[in-house]
Symmetry: C3
Subunit: 87 residues, 3 copies
């Protein structure tokens, strides 16, 4: 059980910089790839598409709803979505 003395000791430490101690929270940035047949590839829930890759050497694509890669060339056999998130 905390006593006034033990709390005072912790407080002096904690308030040394005015109470603005660094947070212990760390975020992690991570990505994964999703490849699908056809000209669309959807990121998993909660992830955002940061780039897309297309079959047949095609470099023309756009992103729908921030999480679906859409390859734009007339003939596309596969689409890959590069999907990232903060966790």
């Amino acid at each position: 059980e905390e006593t006034l003395d033990s709390i005072m000791k912790k407080l002096k430490e904690a308030l040394r910089d005015g109470g603005n101690r660094p947070s212990t929270v760390t975020h992690t940035f991570s990505c994964t790839s999703v490849k699908a047949l056809g000209n669309l590839a959807s990121c998993p829930a909660g992830m955002i598409a940061t780039g897309c890759s297309c079959g047949f050497a095609c470099g023309s694509w756009n992103v729908q709803n921030e999480n679906v890669c859409h390859c734009l060339c007339p003939i596309i056999d596969w689409t890959l979505a590069r999907c990232c998130q903060l966790s």
Copy 2:
């Protein structure tokens, strides 16, 4: 108004793990696309280009100043920048 008693109660709670309570701050990772005519597309202020898409099926590009997509094929009608930020 806080009293010594009410403060002591909060402190016992707050210092239970030595004062290293999880932060309530949450960051959000978000992206948007910017499409422009020609071979350059610029991200909005504060955003960074994570990938680029080019017209005419071109998959060759680089990023200038971390926020401008530059498509490298000789003939390019449009350029798309995929732009992301932490907020």
Copy 3:
């Protein structure tokens, strides 16, 4: 040296919202490009590939181990990895 009075003053401020003050920690999202000869380009340690660019207009690529860009067209002179991190 802190006194009970000075600590009490800081505490009343700090606990005004129940002790859940916003953290002063800020994360930064940053990216860089790595270009290499051949069909592979590796991100620096700690960075993740968010997209890839390939020579010869090729837009077909995948990512190995989350940090290596691999261009998939038969003939590739250079590969560029777009590499990002949270710091």
